[in-house]
């Protein structure tokens, strides 16, 4: 295998390979995508572990993400500072969790976090309302939004505490076999 790249040390590449679902080639390809977002900010040499963080606006302008209604939440969930500004590690992690090789439990975990707008580890009614508004372009009436959220909680809240916990969410995911293919961003 040709070892011609000079961006990462072999140990770094091995670490990335072990911690994500990507192969060497894909990691390099993703690195170049990251680099092309801001060529003047991202150095071509990561052997010294530079601390480079791309602002959310650049991440959110990627063609894979720019039309996704949840792009801001996705970036916030996967970024270290919680604001959407991503380092290369966060970037790789994000696409690894959203790739087709990630297992269902991992995807369910991250999907749960994405839909949990107020970060309280529960999807409560306000989170559902925000999700609904993002998905329907704010065109449902207040009443309709309320009714849909109530229906959702009715259907999937197993332990009857009025909000969705991670297990409720995972239980719902198990019953939706399409989830693995829809919660998937190709890059």
């Amino acid at each position: 295998m040709g070892n011609k790249q000079t961006i990462f040390t072999p140990q770094q590449l091995d670490a990335y390979q072990d911690c994500t679902f990507f192969t060497r080639k894909e990691i390099l390809r993703l690195f170049y995508r990251y680099h092309n977002l801001a060529p003047q900010l991202v150095p071509l040499d990561y052997t010294s572990k530079p601390d480079v963080k791309l602002p959310y606006e650049l991440i959110g302008s990627m063609p894979e993400l720019k039309d996704n209604p949840f792009r801001q939440r996705i970036a916030q969930v996967f970024s270290e500072d919680g604001e959407g500004n991503m380092t290369l590690d966060d970037f790789l992690d994000m696409f690894s969790a959203l790739s087709e090789m990630a297992p269902r439990d991992l995807k369910a975990y991250y999907a749960f976090k994405i839909y949990d707008f107020n970060d309280d580890d529960y999807i409560c009614k306000s989170d559902l309302e925000k999700t609904l508004n993002k998905l329907t372009r704010n065109e449902l009436t207040e009443d309709e939004v309320r009714m849909v959220c109530e229906k959702v909680i009715d259907e999937s809240d197993l332990d009857n505490d009025g909000r969705l916990s991670l297990e409720d969410f995972q239980h719902m995911i198990v019953r939706a076999p399409d989830f693995l293919s829809t919660f998937h961003i190709r890059i």
Binding site: N68, D105, Y115, L135, V148, E155, D161, P177, D178
Partner: protein, 829 residues
């Protein structure tokens, strides 16, 4: 320190045990239906802080995990950025209020991490890497854990000889790199990766499922082609090299498949059982028979396997009601990247939600007259569709009879006009296959189905019924009339018929897509804008694929077209512009039937599928919009495979079996000349081997097991008994699932109640209380004094309030506070 144990521990599981609402996210729930072997299972036994409860008899034990599962102690996953921005909002001040310091919490987290590392070290490298990849942590933490694991692994190995340890380390590392390189090479070769991404991005996953089905069929046919080509065609080509056919080649053979190709390896008739003069002896009879048999068995096994797996994944575990919860939270397609598609998808979702809401609000009571009217309409449409199918069958049968009579009457077999007239039958068949499904979809618009998925199923059912009935009429005609009435090689005649069907069908699919989608788009946008742009009709397209595959399975006995199809492709490519029609369907069935009469048909099919992919893609991009209803793609996939198996494969298999067992092969051509039935070849071979004493066991097996009916009867009986046992087990499991669901609800209530009690304790902590109150298990009994007491605790648990610091309500904090208090009391005493 007072250990307090949780009964069952189930309310801890998956909640990620001790965590504050802000800092520590949850552990993924270990689900026994996870698709990875690595499941993060929460074991309360390893936790350091536990609350003791008398074990209730209804507490359930978690099902035994398969060996090798990662069993972790209390695991808390750090939220990204937690350590950098501080553990908790409100910082140290808030923590002091409840008597803890930030270091305490940090220590807690560290010790959990140590447990995790210890678990990981005990696993093999590959499993360890898999487990690390599955951790829901940020990259830095994962790398951290990985380094710790590697360090402790290498320190463990330090006791052995360093040299051998180094070597083995290097070897395993290079092996892993090799494996990774192989998988990346495999990915590079993956066909149509970019195109699939583009289609998925623009049209969603359900349309993509059609194209992945197509790709799957292509791979399937590649394998069958290789098998057939290797074992049947090559020996035949070797044997007959040097012979040249007597008839001249004219261009019409490309389409009619007769004439010049009659005597080549394309058809069954071109094969002989001769042997060369040299010592190369190849029993073509047995090779032909066994290759086809093995191929069909292989098909059957792989279909059953994928059907069962798909069924289990998509039907058994899934809820059949398409509820709002699913629609809101699980159905959004993250891979869509086209702005217009996203906007449309949002519109569709909004419309669907509104519909479901209005259904909810409307009472379901339709007046009796309305329901009768609905029923009447349904009945009428079914009668009409059945009538259409029957009518087309009758027409085709009469046409077949007419054709046969023409052959009997005809004097000059090489007449061009007569050969062209043989094309009439395939033309009519394909025309019916094109027009009648359109009529069916018109009919379904007249009907009013409440459930859109039900509508799709009805359409599929009608189409399948139509196609299967047409094909069964054709098969009936071939098997009954052709074998006795045709003067020449009847197998070749059938092969030619099938070949013509396949070719004409292919042409129809090309032009049909032109009419189907291009014109509809023109009409929809220019002339009658109310209709709009057509959607990509997934169901009909997939049915076409299945139909064609079925034909191949029956036809491939005649190698009708290696060369032929190559010519055809170049000829066809010029006419290919736009595609998409629901006409690839007949090709499948034709393909499946054909494998006995034309062994090279898989190659034709491969080339067709390959072309079809690009044609459909172009038409899709130009003419269609994404489907309005985001259907359950995974369930549809199961249904397609099931359709591929049941009517299609089983039908073709039974037809081939009938041909082999009961029909007399023709006297003048083919490798089975002179035998009474094709199967006689095997009997003769068995008689020959009976002479050789070493193989007497084989002969015994043949005569006592394969030929005897009693053996199969007993086998069937045993299988029936097994099926009954498994059915009973399934019933038991269903009961268990219901019980478990009730358990979950109960445990949730328990948790809320206990949290409330803990909070009350914290509020009373200023008042010294007796030790028994803490130690005594009776306090924690699940006997609720009053209903209101219970419900109050339950409510409070659901919505934590105000006064206390925001995280104090969490189980982690409360338990740590309880531990702190217990320690203080111990010191007092």
């Amino acid at each position: 320190m007072l250990p307090l144990h949780v009964g069952g521990g189930d309310w801890l599981r998956g909640q990620g045990s001790w965590r504050s609402p802000d800092s520590i996210p949850m552990v993924p729930l270990s689900s026994q239906y996870g698709n990875r072997a690595w499941q993060l299972n929460h074991e309360p036994d390893n936790s350091q802080i536990r609350i003791n409860l008398p074990k209730d008899s209804s507490t359930f034990r978690h099902e035994e995990q398969p060996p090798g599962t990662l069993r972790m102690g209390v695991t808390s996953m750090r939220r990204r950025g937690t350590l950098k921005t501080g553990l908790l909002p409100g910082g140290n001040v808030a923590l002091e209020k409840i008597g803890l310091t930030e270091e305490d919490v940090r220590d807690e987290i560290m010790s959990e991490e140590q447990d995790l590392v210890k678990e990981l070290v005990t696993m093999s490298t590959r499993e360890c890497i898999q487990a690390i990849r599955d951790l829901p942590m940020c990259m830095e933490d994962k790398k951290n854990i990985r380094n710790q694991v590697l360090a402790s692994k290498s320190s463990k190995k330090g006791f052995l000889l360093t040299c051998s340890a180094d070597c083995s380390e290097q070897i395993s590392l290079s092996l892993r790199r090799c494996g990774v390189g192989l998988s990346s090479a495999r990915q590079a070769v993956r066909l149509w990766q970019g195109t699939m991404k583009e289609i998925g991005g623009r049209f969603g996953t359900s349309v993509l499922s059609y194209f992945s089905f197509l790709k799957w069929l292509l791979m399937f046919n590649t394998i069958s082609f290789l098998v057939n080509f290797g074992f049947i065609t090559i020996p035949q080509l070797v044997q007959t090299s040097g012979r040249s056919p007597d008839v001249r080649f004219t261009g019409l053979e490309l389409i009619t498949g007769a004439g010049y190709f009659n005597q080549t390896v394309m058809y069954y008739g071109g094969y002989i059982n001769g042997t060369k003069d040299s010592d190369f002896k190849y029993n073509m009879q047995l090779a032909y028979f066994f290759t086809i048999a093995a191929y069909l068995v292989l098909c059957g096994v792989s279909l059953i396997y994928s059907m069962a797996r798909s069924f289990r994944r998509n039907f058994v575990l899934s809820d059949l009601s398409s509820g709002s919860a699913w629609r809101l939270l699980c159905s959004w397609d993250f891979s869509m990247v086209n702005e217009r598609a996203v906007r449309q998808r949002k519109n569709n979702l909004r419309v669907q939600l509104k519909e479901s809401l209005s259904e909810m609000m409307q009472t379901n009571f339709l007046p009796v007259s309305e329901r009768m009217k609905q029923l009447g309409i349904h009945l009428c449409t079914w009668v009409v569709s059945a009538g259409l199918a029957a009518g087309s069958c009758a027409a085709i049968y009469y046409l077949c009879q007419y054709n046969l009579q023409q052959i009997k009457v005809s004097q000059n077999p090489g007449n061009l006009k007569e050969e062209a007239s043989t094309l009439l039958l395939p033309f009519v068949v394909s025309l019916f296959n094109l027009v009648i499904p359109l009529l069916y979809s018109l009919l379904s618009k007249v009907e009013n189905y409440s459930n859109p998925r039900f509508q799709i199923y009805v359409i599929i059912l009608r189409n399948v019924f139509l196609k299967m009935s047409i094909l069964s009429i054709l098969c009936f005609h071939w098997v009954n009339n052709v074998t006795t009435n045709v003067p020449m090689c009847w197998e070749s005649y059938v092969g030619q018929d099938l070949y013509r069907l396949v070719i004409v069908n292919f042409f129809f699919s090309i032009f049909g897509s032109f009419f189907g989608e291009f014109l509809r788009r023109i009409i929809g946008t220019r002339c009658m804008p109310s209709i709009g742009i057509p959607e990509f009709d997934i169901a009909t397209n997939v049915l076409d694929l299945i139909y064609a595959q079925t034909l191949t399975w029956y036809l491939s006995s005649n190698y009708a077209s290696v060369c032929i199809h190559v010519y055809l492709i170049t000829f066809g490519i010029f006419t290919i512009r736009l595609f998409t029609s629901s006409h690839i369907c007949p090709l499948f069935f034709l393909f499946r039937i054909g494998i006995y009469f034309s062994p090279l048909l898989p190659l034709i099919q491969m080339i067709k599928l390959f072309l079809l992919f690009y044609l459909k893609k172009v038409s899709l991009n130009r003419n269609c919009q994404p489907p309005r209803r985001s259907g359950r793609a995974a369930q549809m996939q199961t249904i397609y495979i099931a359709l591929l198996f049941f009517p299609s494969f089983v039908g073709a298999l039974s037809l081939v079996a009938y041909t082999v067992w009961c029909l007399t092969p023709s006297d003048s051509c083919g490798p089975f000349q002179g035998l009474n039935t094709t199967f006689e070849a095997v009997s003769l071979w068995m008689e020959d081997t009976a002479i050789i004493s070493e193989f007497s066991w084989a002969v015994w097996i043949y005569s006592h097991m394969i030929k005897s009916e009693l053996f199969f009867f007993l086998l069937a009986l045993i299988f029936l008994v097994l099926i009954y046992f498994f059915w009973q087990i399934t019933q038991g499991r269903k009961m268990l699932i219901i019980l478990l669901k009730e358990q979950i609800i109960n445990e949730g209530k328990d948790k809320a109640f206990l949290l409330e009690k803990l909070r009350t304790f914290q509020n009373l902590s200023l008042v010294p209380y007796h030790a028994e109150n803490v130690h005594g298990p009776q306090y924690f009994e699940r006997t609720y004094q009053t209903e209101s007491d219970y419900s109050e605790g339950y409510q409070r648990g659901a919505c934590p309030e105000e006064d206390t610091p925001p995280f104090a309500s969490s189980a982690l904090m409360q338990a740590m506070m309880a531990r702190r208090q217990a320690e203080e009391e111990d010191e007092e005493y």
